[in-house]
Amino acid sequence: MTIKKFINTVLFVEILKGMALTFKMMLSKPVTIQYPDEKRKIYPGFRGKHAFVRDPKTGRQKCIMCMKCVNICPSQCISLKKGRDENNKPFLEQYDIEALRCIYCGYCVEVCPVCALVLTESYEYCAYTKEEIYFDKNKLLTNWDDYVATLSGDVYWNKFWRPDGVDISKMPKSKREQGPVPIRPIAVQPAPTPEKPPVAAAEKAADPAVKAEEKTEAKKEGE
């Protein structure tokens, strides 16, 4: 033991250094964010509550049932069922995301060729029952409406729709052409351009009808 080391030990030099540090820290500003009162600033690219982009043209989801999101999902929390209407035209019969199983990797958002899916920046959606966090097709659209209502701009763009480091020329055409989604017309959806509403309304009307049929069928099967 050198003399210097001995003196350091006797005079508690290292302990006093540590105590000086903790004292300095005591006077510094705490980093705590008192959550319900203060909220953390959310940066672009935050991956939160799932939503379907409501297409401003049709007023419905843009999903084309390509199954890419279902296949890429690492936790396999997305399930999709393709249905056929009376004209043998495919339509999205069922689309469910089990948000409790989701790991929020954002692969589904990146892979979607039509930018139909998005992980919004909303993160406050805890619930008392599992059912409330089990997002079906309509819930996903509602999530979008709820989220968009909190935004201040006119358009919405998610950076994972065109992920960094991927050559844009290798992306599908629909993805290359995808620009920021207008969000304001949705608020005035009931009265857009005169020609469109009948189609949109018809589609909307058809949708619940299909849903209702499904339900009755399911009930019958159950019985």
Binding site: I15, M19, M25, M26, V31, T32, Q34
Partner: protein, 347 residues
């Protein structure tokens, strides 16, 4: 005062005795209530200090800045289920926390809080304090043994070994003070310090003061000597099987022991409720401030030191703890006694 007229049939002596008894009981009640409030708020103070040292906020949600947190904790503990291990020794298990608490609380009796305010002004005050702090080790050992759990048992064993080894150095570090003041009475020790211009034995007994502080940390099982309740090894140590109110009794005992150790340090080394005469001479208006203010301020500084150390220093290894106690602290305190006695004889 003619008290006999108040009591009619009693003679003056009995009446006087009764009156003194009532006054004494009131005094005791005041001290206990104030000590309990101090325990409550020292937990709050600790959580705040350690929180801020770790750049956190500490309790914030119960009352403004978490000021009502101790009461919330107490209510929670009070209504928790009282679990007694079926394989444990029921009677000893129930008695252990009471022994631990009563032994520590009764040490409050001899501490002079300010001029003429001491419950029992006994001539063996310091010895009584040592005896009581040793007794509280019984509570710990019995708790560890009666729980019939390996963690509690190991915690109890470690605690007893630690308390016994550090008690020697603790007592020896105070021998210098006893020699300088020529008394074991705590009031006389404070008065003896007033005879010097510096007014504190910590000035001439500085090594003993540091020794005492180190031993006090070990006596009260605080970091860095908190091996009896080493969370990472022993879950919670000797009170791992305790819950609810019985756990609260241990908790109270531990914090009161901390406060009492601070009180002893203040009384024996820092001049108790007095300020150094040189300070009073320089700033005479300070003499108007009641002594309890200085006493409490000094105690709070010591409590702050406990928390400060806890936030800074990691836990000792067990063999390091033992070798520090036996091979370093005890020889240094013995050397201190020799040097002090030579100095006292010479001057």
């Amino acid at each position: 005062m003619d008290t006999s007229s108040f009591y009619g049939i009693m003679d003056a002596g009995t009446a006087d005795f009764l009156l003194r008894m009532v006054l004494m009981l009131i005094k005791i009640a005041v001290v206990i209530v104030v000590a309990m409030l101090h325990v409550a708020y020292s937990t709050w103070f600790e959580r705040k200090i350690i929180g801020h040292m770790q750049i956190r906020l500490g309790p914030m949600r119960v009352g403004p800045h978490g000021l009502l947190q101790p009461f919330a904790d107490f209510i929670k503990l009070f209504f928790k289920e009282d679990i007694i291990p079926s394989a444990g020794d029921r009677l000893v298990f129930q008695a252990a926390p009471m022994i631990a608490l009563f032994a520590t609380v009764s040490a409050l009796a001899v501490i002079p809080f300010f001029d003429d305010f001491v419950i029992a002004n006994v001539n063996v005050g310091l010895l009584y304090l040592f005896a009581m702090s040793s007794l509280s080790a019984y509570g710990i050992i019995l708790a560890g043994w009666s729980s019939n759990s390996k963690y509690a048992f190991l915690g109890g064993l470690r605690s007893s070994a630690q308390v016994i080894s550090y008690e020697i150095a603790l007592a020896l570090s105070l021998v210098g003070v006893m020699m300088l003041s020529g008394s074991l009475n705590l009031v006389e020790i404070v008065e003896a310090q007033q005879k010097h211009w510096y007014g504190m034995f910590a000035v001439i007994q500085f090594p003993a003061y540091i020794l005492f502080l180190i031993c006090a940390f070990a006596e009260t099982n605080r970091t860095p000597f908190d091996l009896p309740e080493a969370e990472s090894e022993l879950v919670a140590g000797y009170f791992v099987e305790y819950s609810g109110m019985r756990f609260a009794l241990f908790f109270l005992g531990e914090y009161i022991a901390m406060i009492i150790m601070s009180c002893i340090a203040v009384t024996c080394f820092l001049g108790g409720w007095t300020l150094p005469p040189i300070v009073i001479q320089a700033l005479p208006f300070l003499a108007l401030v009641p002594g309890i203010v200085w006493f409490l301020l000094k105690v709070y500084c010591h409590l702050f030191l406990y928390y400060w150390i806890r936030a800074t220093v990691p836990r000792f290894r067990y063999d390091h703890l033992m070798s520090l106690g036996w091979k370093i602290l005890i020889p240094i305190s013995l050397a201190n006694i020799v040097i002090t006695s030579i100095a006292k004889y010479a001057f």
